[in-house]
Structure formats: C-alpha cells, structure tokens
Subunit: 338 residues, 4 copies
C-alpha cells in the first residue's frame, strides 16, 4: 500500500515555484493538490505550469479542505507566524520557509500553536540537505575529523536583492546570515553561544540608506567550544559562493561551489572554467527536493522532522544577537537575547 | 495553448525506468501514458512506481492506440530493428536506445521503414546531452579552442555486466565503445575515417570464454584530420570514468568525472574525496532528461531530432570496423565496412 | 662588473640552515662567508655542509670583520634586539628573523639603532615571497579583484613545537599568528586597526599548563575598511595548512596548499592524493630564497628593503593587541597598544 | 669523509646551463670544475655566471685532465656518440643528453665503448625524476593500482622549435616523442613491443616542408600486455603540457601540470588561474637536479645508474619503429627495428 500526502501551497512566488518543481515528480509520496496566492494570476500560472489540479481563492480555503494533509508556507516573512498558527489550528502539518518571524515573541507564539495542535512543523533551512554540506555534517558525526576546533563558513549572494526587498527583509543578518547561523549549529551539532559581528556598506549605498549592511564578518563561539567565522556578502560578482570548512582534531573537511559543468579550458590567456551556479534555485535544487522529501516522510511515518521550530528559534536568536553586536560593537552572548 | 505528447514505453527494465524517472515530472511537455513489457509484472511495477495510468498487454496494443504519439523502445538490442519498423508503420515517432541493431543490414532496414513512414527517430546517445560534454562540443563549435588536433576519450564502466548480458551484447566494442564512437564524431563534428583497435581480456577470463574482450584502446582518425584515442575498460574499481579532452590550435578543453559531493577530507593519511558517481543512471541523470526533452520538442515543433538514425549507423559502422581491426590486427577504414 | 655581498650568519639552527641552503647557489650575488653559533659544533657542521669558508668564535668577531657587508640574525628571539643594535653600530646591513622582540620598547630601541646607523634592516616575513601569496598581493595591487571587502587567512602548523620552545616563544599569537598579522597588512596594503581574538587549548594540555593556547580565531578590521579573519592552530594532522582568500568588489582570489606531487589516485576506497608539504622549510623553500635575494639586491642597489623594521613593529603591535583581546575578551584597537 | 666529484661540462648551451644551475649549489657532492664549448664566449659566459673555475679550450683538454672524474655531454645530438666513445676511452664517467644517436648502429658503437671502458653512462631522461611521474612509477611498483591495463601520456611542447633545429633534430618522433617512449617503458616497467603512429602537419607548414610532422598520436603495446597511447604536439598555446595516467586492476593514477602558483581568481567572466610552467627548464627544474644527484651518487657509491645506455637504445628503437609506422601506415613491431 502506498500512502501519498496531499499538499497545499500558500504563496506562488519564486520559492513556491522551487517547491512546485520539486514536487512535480510523480515518483514521490506527495501530490501538490492545490495552490493559492494573493495574486490570483500567480497561482493560476503556477498551477498550469506544474499541473496542480486546483487553485484556491485564499489560504483559508486550503486550511478548510479536509483532503489536504499539509501546507507549504511560501509567503513573505511577516505572514509566516500567523499562517503557521492558523494552519496548526486547522490540523495541517506545516512546512514553512525561514524565518518564522523577525522576533522571538512572534516565533514563540507560532511554535506554541504548533505544539498545542500536535502537528509537525519543518523549517526551510534547505542547505542542511545539500549533498556537500550533508557530507560535512556526516564527517563530524562519524568522527572522521575528530573533535571540531575551527569552523569557517563563506556565504555570498551573487547580487543584492531589490531595495524594496531589503527594506522588509529584517536586514542582511536576519535574511541571509540566518542560514549560516543555522548551518553553524547543524554542522557542529552544538549551539551558538556568542557572536561578534562587524559589517558595513561596501557594495551599494542605497542599501545603507535603507538601514541595512551588505557585507559582514561574524565570529561565533559554540557551546561545545568550537570557534568559527561566518563571512557574508550581498555580492560576489562571480556568482553564489557557498562553502564551509572545519578543522578538527583528526583532520579537516572543506567543500567547493557547484558548477554547471566540469570543463576546464586552457588558452593562451589562462586556464579557466565557467562560473559556479549563480543562485539558490540552481545550487540547491537537490537540497530543495530532499528537504521536501524528508518532510513528507516525517509526516507519513510520524517521525520527528529534521529541522524543527526550535531550530528556527535558535538561528533567529543568533541573528538577533549578531544585530545587537553590530550596533553595540561588542561580542554578544546569545543568552542576552533569548 | 500547451501541447503535450502521449508516450508509450516498450520495455520496463533498467533503462526504461531511467526514462520513466525523467518523464515523471509534470513540468515537461510529455506524459508517459502507457507501458508494456514481456514480463507483465515489470510493467505493472513501473506503472505503479511512476504513476503511469495504463499497462498494455503487448507493444502491438500500444502501436494500435491512436492516442499515443510516440514510443520509447527500451527492449533488448535484438528487438530494436523490428520494433522500429513496426512503430514507424504505425505512424508513431520513435525514441530508441542504441544500437538500432548489431549489423548494418538490419539497421538500414529499420531506417528505411522510418524514412518511408515519415516519422521521427531519435537514438539514445545520451552522453551528447551531458552538460560537460555539451560544453566541449560548444567549445569546438564556437572556435574557443580553434581547430581540433587531438581527441582523447576515456570510457570505463565500474564493473563488468553479467556474463549472460555479455553473450548477447554484440561485444564490448558494439555495446560500450559505440557510445564513444558516437561521441568522437559528435564532439569533433566530423566522421570516423579509420580505426585501429587493440584489446584483450584483463579483468575476467569468463568474458574471454564468452568470446569478448574487457579492455581496449582504439586509435581513431577523423575525416577532418583530427587524431584521437578511445580507451575502454569494463572495470574501473573506483566507479564510472567518463572523460574527454581535446587539444586544438587555440587551446584545449578537458572534463572531469561527476561526484556526489564536493567535500575534500584531509587526514593524517591523505587528502581525499568520495568516489565519483558510480554508473550511468546517476552520472547521466541530467543527460537522460535532456535527451527526452529534446525528442519531445523536436516532435512537437516538427524539427529534426538531435541524434538521428544516420548517426546511429555511423557509430555502428565504426564499431564494426573496430571489431574487424581487433580480429585482423590492422588499421581498418570505416569505408571497408559501410 | 658583478658585485657580490659577503654575508655572516649568526645562529646555525634550523632557520639558519634554511638560509644557508638558499645561499648555497653560486648563481646569486651573495656569498655566505662566515658563520657562528653559541654551540661551536653547530657552526662547524653547517660550514662543512654548505661550504662556508670560515667559522667565527662569536658574533663580535663577525661584526668586527670589515670584509663582511651584512649579517643574518637567526638566533632565538630574545637576542634579536641586542644583536640588531650591535650589528647596526658595526655598520652591517641586517637581515633578522621575526620578531625583532616580544615588546614594543625593545623593538623601538633596535629600530632606533638601525636608523642612527643608516644601515638596512629586513625582517624575515618570508611568506610575502611565496609565489601564491605574492600572486594574491598582485591581484589586489593591480585591481584584478577590485576593492578588498573580506580577507580570510588559514595558518595551521602540522604539530605543536616542543614545550620548552612554547615557554619562551612569547605565546602562539606572537610566535605563529604574527606572520598572519603581517600578511593581512601586506596583502591588503593597509594596517590592522582592531582585533578580536578568541582561543583556547584544544590540542595539548601541556601547552595550557605552559600558559599558552594552541588554537585561536582572530577577527581583524583594517584601516581601509576591509574585514578579515585569521584562523590559527598548532596542529593540522595532515600537515602545514597555509591559505588565504580575498573577496573584492570585482572578484575573489584564493590559494591552495603546496603538494609534493600532482598525482591523484583513485581506488575502490577514495580519490586521494599525498599530503601537502609538511612544514615551512619545504613549503616556503622558494620564498626563503626570494627574500634573501631581495635583501641582497636592496643592499647592492641601495634601494629600500621590501620588509622593514616598521613592518615588524606593526605586526608585533597587532599580535600584542590580540593577546590583550584574548585576556580581556573584548575587541582591542591596535592604537591601544602602539 | 666527504667525497666530491669533479665534473666537466661539454656544451654550454641551454641544457648545459640547466645542469650548471643544478650544480651551482655547494650542498651537493659534485663540483662543476671546467666547461668548454665550440663557441668560447658561451663557455666563458656560463663559467662566469655559475662560478665555474676553469674554461677549457676543447673537450679533449677536459678528457685529458686527470682531476676530472666525469663529464656532462650537452652538445648537439650528432656529436653524442663520438663524445661518449672518447670520454669512455679517457676513463671518464659520462652523463649524456638523449638521444645517444639517431640510429642504432652509432648507439651500439657508443655503448660498446662504454662497456669496454667499464665507466658509467647515464642518459638524460630527466622526466623519470619528476616528482609526479616518480609517484606514478611508485604506484605501479608498489601495486597500489594493481596490474596496469591502460597507459596514457600527453606530451605537448608550448611552441615549435626553430626550423633550423627541426631540420637536424631527427624528426619529432626522435626528438620529442622519444622522452615518452622512455616514460612508457619506465612507468610500466616493461618494454614497448609494438607501435602504431599517425601524425601530420597541423601547426606550421614550414615544419612539413622541412620533412617533419608537428602532431602525432602513437598507440603502444607493451611486452607485459599493457595498452597505451602517446599524444604529441609541438604546440599547446597554453604552455608545456606533460601528463600521464594509468588505469590498473586495483585503481588509477593521473598527474597534472605544474603551475607557478596556486591562486584561483573568480571574476564576472570566469574562474581562472595562471598558465602552467611554460617549458622544460621550469617544469623539470627539480627533475634536472635529481637526475644529476642520482648520477653523482651512482658514481661515488659505484652503483648502477638509474637510466642506462640500454634504456636509451630501447627508447630509440621505439622511436625508429614509430617513424617506420608513420611512413608505412601500419603497426610496427619494435623487433623489426632492433
């Protein structure tokens, strides 16, 4: 007997389309049964492109539909907490993009609603499912590199987002770096204890006028003693740069970027290759598919989800601490925030 | 208006499943509508796994179905020519695995049937669609490396096939090397003019007792003057090894294998990484999807298919010439065969 | 007319032998004419091995010898400042290993003596002359990568030094990290403005009992706005790990370690290569030769040396600031020290 | 007690200077005591540059000097055999550049003279001493990759030599490819049994008018059953391309080119690095030093030299077979020649 989940998609924008692509394979154990968006045309367009049978007028219609087992929340961040709470109350399992909210209070409210309802909530920290980062995690877990001593994370976007996005993003540390705070805890299997963040506006002054930074370096100290650094930029002109490395007592592991092909050209000028995959839909295609598969299996098999609401809270707390460190120009304990 | 092809799959074995996987995405412009196999359970199992709506009793039932636009022939090689002829007569467009047949006479018969029927026939030389090999082709086509002088192809399987398969495969040169003969012509955009093949049994004496070889080196001379070598083995213990390189008048290009991740581990013993993707379903996953997409688009848009029956005939002729060279221990012109 | 310098070597230990090796080529414009060591057997042994014509009883004998143009000071750190002052007073040009001293007062005394005497003083920050790091410097200087935004330095020794060495080394930050503080300023062509250092004892408790640390991460802020991190460890079990990378506004540059050969082995277990060059005499062989050559040419041509006493003072000040940061657990401005 | 050889250098051209560079280090067990050249100014210039004490009027003067233990023959190929015979008769040990002669008769004459005199003769197949190729040899010898099945050698020069050189070189197969014939036997520890060579003029028609080719592919069959290919070109526009790889029953090994630095630049256009070391003096610097060191030690310790006259004869025979194969357009057994 083969069980298959019926999923509803709330939000038909870029990340919603990424998930629709992942789910378009019939080979999985889940069916994208319905989609909605505040822009009805966006929902219709996605439904047509990916063969989704129904378009709902609004998210309430999806939550009221007893045939839907779970929802994917792919709306702007400021709606996440309320949608999580409503979906939980409706008894739906929930996959929600990060972050749950831009503050801990709203986050805690949403997590409480989930706990009361007894549904599952998985957060979209997709990078944990990247084959290379997962290999790093496995090397730590298996003891291949011994006890971790030093962690290094590079995380650069290819280009800054639109200024309108910047204004509502919560700032680079909550929008971009939060992925890296999650990765630090995940890879080392510990929690961030202290951060010291320095940053500035080096790429686009409009970002500064919008009250944000575009470049930052964050020192992290983890509870188990590991020391680490996270480098962030809104613009690496050569494309999405996403690498980690760890030095441990018995060895080291490092990863490289992903490339569209392996061809190396040697000419009279240089030995060169094509640029790395430009941004997250390409670079993390496998990871996006794997995180949904893991969610679907956790729901069907009634097992814990691999990325919990508590994980989201920890990454948010670290990002808020980084924000405070940036402003107050001093190392900040995460415990000051959380 | 969105047009979608209805496809019938004939043969539910390993390569049939590879194509079913590619087609399982609803995002494409084709639907796998029916499947059949001489082993009914195999067809049912594939249908269930990939959500194929119908299982046909036999291939005749598929060919008789007016709703089916095209068929994928994924049966053993000795059935290809007859199935192509029957499908052509039934007016179906055809995607057929390589080779069309193990001799030129049968091949020509099948191609004639296709020509008479005016249907499209694409052959499954999947490697042309590999992003790295396609990049090499593009470098030649664009002049990035100038006029090609020397071509090198490495093509090693991870492990020999079962002896039963070896016995009916037509021999390694027709079964394995034929892909490389196709690649040589494709990458250089020329035709193989002469081959000199030396080979032997180095891996498993049972292969020798079955009348085949498991290791070979083939010199190729192309009509445009390019010199080349093709190295083949039935066993690279580290996995599927598939690389090409070309030296040209203005530069060189080479490719590497594909790996499951980019992680590099440094320990007290060595600096190492995980083995390359082990075999063709993993290594050529993207290529398999791309070749079907190209076929579907060629049919829908009524454009020439990217890999024609004539291409298959050329690769076969080169493989037959290589067989003769091996036996007669001398360079053989392809024109002696074809 | 070919001019050649007569050099005297003071200190025949490990680093003295490294320089003797560099000078053993007759092709250069310098001759190692005399050597001395507090252990006479060490001086004799070096003289025999490298064909140095004379062994002096003590450094005073070298300084008193009018045929000697310049001295190489390769003694323990606590003797550097006094030897520099004496050599300067004797009118000898000076090449001295880093650091000049473990505090700024002694350093300033030595530099004053040099200034008064009008001789040249070059400090042995050999890494500046490494072909890969020099290439990074060139990429910054030429604008190839635009304005630097983020600097990353990895600097790990293969194994901790003897505890006796640790006790007199001034601590890891002054002994090991000082090279990286120099590199940060050199590569970016700016000065370190602020440091925040966290470290601990992760490798050997005996190091902790000796009052030192063996692992550290240092955040650096440079005067021109560049943000950076320096990761240090006394033990990378796979060997000497010395890499840098810089993200700039127009691109990025990164370096790899140096290896004894380029051979890559693929077996049933892994794809692997031999360990990187294990320690500084191997890794920086070319750099050691190049720094001496630069010194010799600066003296002969009466041009400024490429690594001045002022450079040494800057690196020392940064290292002292890092020490204070480690103790006081706060970011420290270098201006607080210097 | 330290023994040191007195060496005489006959021929002060490019390769003579390479060896003088290697010997310029006093750290070795050999002294370059005298040099001669048919162009006296060339000998004087080399002597001055490398500190060689004496310039001899002609090679006879060197051979007559009882203080000279061994000679390095670095003259044009057509003088090698006679110089070897004369040096042997004078009782000098001999290091001679490859090839001994362009035909087997002269070669045999020289080798007989050496045998009669009981002196040592080492041939300058420098590539055997390259750290990467030596690592490949070690991997075969140790069984790391099991029994060799397929060998691949790439050997491309950066640019064609002057046409005057081409005319007296004996042709590309005897001048350039002979190194690779030696490598094939050396790496596999077997002898070349059969060759099939195809080549042509693809780079410069003047080379064709001089009766030579500039591009060739050679199939080789070794006595132990290994199959192989050797690719040769007079022009790789990106620089000296020297790589080998071997597939064996238990694994594979491959090497890469040598680069001036490890820096990788990522810009908006590509991910690139500087060109490989351009030609043999740079690429094989370590190998040139190591071969002389091995010669000196073999003489001092009275042990067999690592590259014998018999080795030179084997490589020559394979090259002559390749020449015949090229002309007669058929596979040629080396036994047909030798």
């Amino acid at each position: 007997l083969s069980i298959s989940l019926n999923l509803g998609l709330i939000g038909a924008g870029r990340i919603g389309q990424v998930h629709a692509t992942s789910l378009a394979s019939r080979a999985g154990r889940a069916e994208l049964a319905v989609v909605t968006d505040v822009v009805p045309g966006a929902a219709r367009s996605l439904a047509e492109r990916f063969g989704v049978p129904r378009v709902a007028a609004d998210y309430q219609a999806i939550l009221a539909d007893p045939s839907i087992n779970a929802v994917l929340i792919c709306t702007p961040t400021d709606t996440h907490a309320a949608l999580i709470a409503a979906a939980a109350q409706a008894g739906k399992h929930i996959f929600c993009e990060k972050p749950v909210a831009l503050d801990l209070h709203q986050t805690d409210g949403a997590l409480s609603a989930v706990a009361r309802a007894g549904v599952k909530l998985q957060i979209g920290f997709n990078r944990r499912f990247d084959p290379s980062f997962a290999r790093v995690r496995a090397a730590v877990a298996s003891g291949e590199i011994g006890t971790p001593h030093i962690l290094r994370i590079v995380s650069y976007d290819p280009a800054p987002p639109p200024i309108e996005y910047v204004k509502t993003s919560g700032g680079m540390l909550l929008d971009l770096s939060i992925h890296d705070f999650d990765m630090a805890g995940f890879l080392i299997d510990s929690e961030i204890d202290e951060v010291y963040t320095r940053g500035g506006v080096m790429i686009d002054e409009a970002i500064g006028r919008a009250g944000d930074i575009d470049t930052a370096v964050t020192f992290v100290h983890l509870a188990n003693g590991t020391l680490g650094t996270i480098d962030n930029s809104r613009q690496a002109v050569y494309g999405y740069d996403q690498r980690v490395e760890i030095l441990g007592s018995r060895g080291a592991i490092c990863t490289d970027n992903a490339y569209p092909n392996t061809a190396v050209l040697s000419t009279a000028d240089s030995v060169h290759r094509d640029l790395p995959l430009n941004f997250f839909p390409q670079r993390y295609r496998q990871a996006f598919a794997a995180e949904l598969e893991a969610f679907v299996e956790a729901v069907i098999d009634d097992r814990p989800v691999p990325v919990s609401g508590a994980d989201a809270r920890k990454a948010l707390a670290a990002a808020l601490a980084a924000n405070r460190s940036l402003v107050e120009q001093r190392p900040v304990k995460v415990s000051e925030i959380a």
